[in-house]
């Protein structure tokens, strides 16, 4: 027994640490060399391709394809609306996880559905349906400005307007302040549920290989840990209200990034009506978010004006970034990660804001309970405005 302990001790620590890794690598080499599965029978390949992005240009459809299966896949032919059409892809074979752009020359018609079928070398078909074909906006000066304006209308301006409630918050009694804080927690809780729902849906649209749910979870946990670290490193009690306000602004900002993505990508795929409705709904929704940000400030005196400006920018400006990203470079996997980050941030912020209450039980009692439910209900009601 003691002899073995001494032997271990003689191994350098780094060597002891990596030796299991070397062993498992050797194991895998043996596995792939002998390949016991192949001896069972000739297994037909499993072919899967994820279409990560679709662009419509005049007389042309461009698809970003990623091999989303375990095996190599060759795109032999492309059928558009049940007809063979010429296409350009360079090397038509995609290795696992490899991505390439396929360009199909096709006289698509504005406003009509399009079905693109990828016919692989083995005769498998991968169907990609577009509900409404419409010219994809390219990031030129005009579209960049339009998307920024959208972000302004639905994110920056409403949040800034909501911040005006600061004047009210400052003057209310401690008891009423508890009500507003509970209202904020209710509101953030709604955003959390909303963000999780959107994120999980997006995860389902992510290439299977990328495991969208795992991305979402990593984003969420990472954000929660990062925000907790920020909070505890600035943990004096006097400025806690201000720190809490900043954290709320960050959480709300990340959530608004997601809203920007939603509007940007809806408009990019031609759903203009949906885009418009989303803008109106989010604008009302986001005004309330301004109130959420200033509520924790009620416990401290008047902060400098630039603090208010910074809070507004942190909470509102990401909407613009989201609209750009959603409109021009939307990518389901990255978006899923972003939604995860937003969800984690909001969860952490809920915890923080609840901490600014004299007693966490105030959330479910009396005026606090009413505030909490009103926060949830108010967001639900304004949420009805968005489909």
């Amino acid at each position: 027994m003691s002899a073995r302990v001494r032997t271990d001790a003689r191994l350098p620590l780094w060597l002891a640490g990596i030796s299991p890794l070397v062993a498992v690598a050797a194991l895998l080499v043996v596995f792939f060399t002998l390949d016991p599965i192949a001896s069972l029978r000739e297994v037909p390949p499993t072919e899967a391709i994820a279409v990560e992005r679709t662009k419509f240009r005049p007389g042309e459809i461009e698809l970003r394809l990623r091999n989303d299966g375990p095996d190599r896949v060759t795109v032999a032919q492309v059928l558009v609306n049940d007809a063979y059409w010429q296409s350009e892809m360079g090397d038509r074979t995609l290795d696992r996880l490899e991505a390439r752009t396929l360009t199909v020359t096709y006289p698509w018609q504005e406003g009509l559905p399009v079905e693109v079928v990828l016919l692989t070398a083995t005769g498998t078909t991968i169907v990609h349906e577009v509900e409404v074909a419409t010219l994809t906006p390219e990031p030129d000066r005009r579209t960049v400005v339009v998307y920024a304006l959208l972000g302004l209308y639905m994110g920056v301006a409403p949040v800034a307007i909501g911040l005006l409630w600061f004047g009210t918050i400052r003057r209310v009694s401690a008891r009423s302040l508890g009500f507003f804080l509970a209202f904020t927690v209710g509101l953030l809780t709604f955003l959390l549920v909303d963000t999780v729902e959107e994120g999980v849906e997006l995860a389902g649209r992510t290439a299977v290989s990328f495991d969208g749910l795992a991305l979402f979870a990593i984003g969420a946990l990472g954000a929660a840990i990062a925000l907790s670290a920020i909070e505890s490193s600035s943990g004096q009690t006097r400025s806690h209200g201000l720190v809490a306000a900043y954290l709320v602004a960050i959480g709300v900002g990340l959530h608004n990034l997601g809203e920007g993505l939603a509007v940007g990508s809806a408009i990019a795929v031609g759903e203009l009506a949906l885009g418009r409705t989303l803008v109106v709904g989010f604008a009302l929704h986001n005004t309330t978010e301004g109130l959420a940000i200033v509520s924790p400030l009620g416990t401290i005196g008047l902060p400098r004006l630039w603090h208010l400006a910074a809070l507004g920018a942190i909470a509102g400006a990401p909407t613009i970034v989201g609209a750009w990203v959603g409109g021009f470079v939307f990518h389901a996997a990255w978006a899923t990660l972003a939604f995860g980050v937003a969800a984690g941030a909001i969860a952490q912020v809920i915890w923080t804001v609840a901490g600014t209450l004299p007693d966490r039980r105030a959330l479910i009692r009396g005026l606090g309970g009413v505030g909490f439910m009103l926060g949830l209900g108010f967001m639900y009601a304004t949420g009805l405005l968005t489909p």
Binding site: A76, A83, Q86, T122, G123
Partner: protein, 316 residues
């Protein structure tokens, strides 16, 4: 219809030919990318048109002409559209199988050798005994087995044969069929004769065809038009074996043809430019082009056109 649909490049035909060693990149438009490697398939659709097989010809004791064949069923992959491979079941490694060409009253002897992994038969559309019907229980051979079909060819006409093992859809759709042409005893007027088997392939096995073709390869005669002579009589045996769709058809551009239904008459039934057929329906078409030029012929189910059943005659 065709001109507007095809667009400028496909109309030039040759534009869709491959450049040496690489994929075809035309300026864009309708049609497949690249071409099929016919050498790898082991058969060329242009050759299949006129590849009539009389078998090994001899006389039996009664002085009757005997045509002897060996048909071997083989499972193999064939390229049915450029770059798209289909796990076919074949007679003698080709789809459609060999075109049997005999005269009414001749004796046909076929050794069916099963070198594939499923039971198969040879079921002829003709008049014969029950024992020679080529169905489960009469002439079906398991893997490694052999059966000899022996019957008198009648009546004269444009006929077909196919496998009749179960499940029938699989055995036909996978490629086990071919033309069985029986000439009238007195023969027919001199003509350039061709066989066109209308078929389709459900490459993803979802019960719908992804590929339609004449003689197996999608767009084959669009990429390489069938060259015929102006003023010369053309006789085409058209046989529909398309699975999954109720009908297929053939339409000739800028011309009309004499239609001999099932080829069982010496006089035409009808003058038309389009004929629609259910599965196993087949007809004999006769026509002559007066002028040179490139003329389309295709299914008039336009969906089939878009999916491969599009062809040209190059009249010279």
């Amino acid at each position: 219809m065709g001109g507007a649909l095809l667009g400028r490049d496909a109309l030039r035909g040759a534009a869709a030919r491959p450049s040496a060693g690489g994929h075809v990149h035309t300026a864009g438009g309708f049609g497949p990318v690249g071409t099929v490697d016919h050498a790898r398939n082991g058969f060329h659709p242009l050759d299949l048109l006129t590849d009539f097989d009389a078998g090994e010809v001899s006389k039996d004791a009664s002085g009757r002409t005997v045509h002897s064949y060996t048909f071997t069923t083989v499972d193999r992959e064939i390229e049915v559209a450029p770059g798209v491979f289909f796990p076919a079941w074949t007679y003698n490694r080709r789809v459609p199988g060999p075109t049997i060409r005999v005269t009414e009253g001749d004796r046909v002897r076929i050794d069916l050798v099963n070198a594939s992994s499923h039971p198969h038969t040879l079921h002829f559309h003709g008049i014969h005994s029950a024992a020679m019907d080529g169905v489960p229980g009469a002439g079906e051979v398991g893997p490694g087995e052999t059966f000899t079909y022996d019957f008198i060819a009648e009546p004269f006409g444009t006929h077909l044969y196919h496998c009749h093992s179960a499940p029938l859809v699989q055995h036909i759709h996978r490629g086990l069929y071919g033309a069985f042409i029986v000439d009238p005893p007195g023969g027919r007027p001199e003509a350039n004769e061709m066989v066109m088997v209308l078929n389709g392939f459900d490459t993803n096995f979802d019960g719908e065809n992804e590929v339609y073709a004449v003689n197996t390869v999608a767009f084959a005669y669009m990429n390489e038009p069938v060259v015929i002579e102006a003023g010369a009589l053309q006789r085409v045996h058209v046989i529909n074996v398309t699975e999954f769709d109720p009908v297929n058809s053939i339409h000739l551009h800028a011309n009309f043809f004499d239609l001999y239904r099932t080829g069982t008459s010496l006089t035409p039934h009808e003058l038309t430019d389009t004929v629609t057929m259910g599965q196993a329906e087949r007809h004999m078409l006769e026509f002559t082009y007066r002028e040179r030029g490139r003329f389309m012929f295709h299914a008039h189910q336009t969906e089939f056109v878009d999916l491969g059943w599009m062809s040209f005659f190059e009249v010279v």
